[in-house]
């Protein structure tokens, strides 16, 4: 172990654990010595690849669906995959898939914005101020068990059938995970970080902006993902019952018209949009808070 002898100029001392990690290349049959790429090797690589497994799973699922549909032979209750695909193409061509998605998505966006703007600052305030927490917490804990769905009838009375009701329900549903996770995030801030910043003579305001907010951010992000998923589920119920437009409305509308393939199309769409949104959010979470590994739902 080299130690710098006094008298020498300060040079970089290489620590044993600081040696750059050398990625040992795994011997791959596809790139055997001699650099010959064998077809068998490539095929094996594809077979094990995640995207291929997913593809194969979906293909199997669709085949089973087609078989089941043929066996049940009730096009109203279980349309064949082919019919659903046709309906989807038709709806897409008319632009209906996109328009309904945009309607629902924009409502979701507004609701999440409202919820975030209220819940996150409130969460900080409640976590940092014990008095405020003592007064407000009971209200939060009283309202939380009353699910957003239960507010629909009353909401219908206040807002009537339309776009406002889903937004209200979603904002309500999104509020609680955001608030609770923010409070949690602020409470769990490593005290040593705060102490360290104080020993550097930081002002309270700067400490808030440069230490507290980043430190609580991972928890807030997790809360946001939960809020998003909950709101996306709630919008279906809200639109199904009390809205003349949107994805939830569409599935109910076409059911009443007994057009099952279109019903299924929209259900598939709901799933796809929900899945993609979570992927996007997970990426955002990773980019914004790269240091918080091993946190959050399903990582």
């Amino acid at each position: 172990m080299p130690a710098t002898l006094p008298g020498k100029s300060p040079a970089m001392t290489v620590m044993p654990e600081d040696a750059p990690a050398v990625e040992t290349a795994r011997p791959n049959a596809a790139t055997a010595p001699g650099r010959r790429i064998s077809i068998a090797g490539v095929a094996r690589g594809v077979w094990r690849a995640r995207w291929f497994i997913s593809l194969r799973a979906f293909a199997t699922f669709i085949c089973l669906w087609a078989l089941l549909a043929a066996w049940v032979s009730s096009p109203l209750q279980l349309p064949s995959p082919a019919k659903v695909f046709d309906a989807m193409v038709g709806l897409a061509a008319k632009g209906e898939l996109l328009s309904q998605t945009l309607i629902s998505a924009s409502r979701l966006g507004v609701a999440l914005m409202v919820a975030t703007v209220i819940a996150v600052p409130l969460g900080f305030a409640m976590a940092l101020n014990r008095e405020l927490n003592t007064y407000l917490d009971p209200i939060v804990e009283l309202l939380r068990p009353i699910s957003g769905i239960a507010w629909i009838p009353l909401g219908l009375f206040i807002f009537g059938v339309g776009g406002t009701l889903p937004v209200f329900i979603m904002a309500y549903v999104a509020f609680f995970p955001l608030l609770l996770n923010t409070i949690d995030g602020v409470r769990e801030i490593d005290r040593k970080l705060l102490a360290a910043s104080r020993t550097m003579g930081i002002t309270r305001r700067a400490q808030m902006v440069h230490v507290m907010v980043p430190a609580a951010l991972p928890s807030v992000m997790v809360g946001f993902r939960i809020a998003f998923a909950s709101a996306w589920a709630a919008i279906i119920a809200a639109e199904l019952i009390g809205s003349p437009s949107g994805l939830g409305f569409s599935i109910e509308w076409y059911r009443q018209l007994l057009m099952s393939p279109k019903v299924f199309s929209f259900i598939v769409l709901i799933g796809v949009v929900g899945y993609l949104s979570d992927v996007v959010l997970r990426t955002v979470q990773r980019k914004l808070t790269p240091w918080a590994d091993g946190m959050g739902i399903d990582q």
Binding site: R130, T134, I139, P145, I149, A150, P153, R187, R191
Partner: protein, 266 residues
């Protein structure tokens, strides 16, 4: 080290009194506002809500509706448990099965339970079976996910210990893995019951709306009737409170079971 909020009474006013302050103030404001409205206004008021609660309880309607809803929840939960646990153990213990089924499961997860309702109605008509389908669907995922989580994270050392004692793979699963996964299953059950309760209210509300009132019964359906027919907003509020109280009770009950069975978890 975390910044724990040290709840301690400061300067005389006990904490419980502070806790009640805001709710009481809000109730008083609400009542005062309601009293400024004409007598015939349908707007809900705290005192009227209490009155409605007394009436509904006395007539037995409220209790009967709650029992109906809870019954459906339990039935749906039972179905979800059978499906979720068996599939969960399978997927949790076999990487191949998990890899192949995971894409399907993950695709259905973003599809909210209520989105399945139209299909359920197409299959079973507007009634209890449709509502049960929604509840079972809703409860299925938390149970499945948590069971997979519990089974797959069993300490490898325990499994190795069983193998060195000559247990077959099947026996290992039954005798080592399943018991070790119980904490996760309990957690999944608590979450599942929570969403199941929300789902039944939503389902009953929607089914009630679609069947024009109908006779399906349950708290959700009662809420719809109060909305669309008797225009009884106070009744709606009573139902909302019941929904909240039951949700709280379910959660506390499950936490109690968890605490008793697993005293080492905080």
């Amino acid at each position: 080290m975390s910044m724990n909020v040290n709840v301690r009474a400061t300067g005389g006013i006990p904490n419980w009194a502070k806790a009640l302050t805001l709710p009481i103030i809000l109730l008083v404001i609400w009542q005062a506002w309601a009293m400024t409205l004409p007598e015939t206004s349908p707007a809900p008021a705290p005192l009227k809500v209490v009155q409605s609660f007394a009436e509904l309880t006395a007539s037995g309607e409220l209790i009967w509706a709650t029992i109906q809803s809870l019954g459906r929840v339990l039935a749906g939960f039972a179905i979800a448990m059978v499906a979720g646990l068996s599939l969960g153990v399978l997927m949790g213990s076999s990487r191949i099965v998990r890899e192949n089924l995971d894409p399907i499961v993950e695709s259905f997860r973003p599809i909210a339970p209520m989105a399945i309702l139209p299909i359920a109605i197409l299959w079973f008509g507007t009634g209890t079976p449709a509502a049960l389908t929604i509840v079972a669907y809703a409860a299925f995922f938390p149970l499945l996910i948590n069971t997979i989580h519990g089974v797959s994270r069993v300490d490898r050392q325990l499994i190795r210990a069983a193998q060195t004692m000559g247990l077959s793979r099947l026996r290992t699963v039954l005798v080592v893995i399943v018991p070790a996964a119980i904490p996760s299953v309990l957690l999944g059950s608590r979450l599942a019951m929570g969403v199941a309760w929300t789902a039944i209210i939503a389902a009953e509300l929607a089914v009630g709306a679609k069947s024009g009132g109908g006779t399906s019964g349950g708290v959700g359906q009662m809420m719809f009737v109060f909305y669309a027919y008797s225009i009884d907003l106070n009744g709606i509020v009573v139902c909302m409170i019941v929904v909240g109280v039951i949700a709280l009770l379910i959660d506390r009950l499950f936490r109690l079971v968890e605490h008793k069975l697993l005293p080492w978890r905080n």
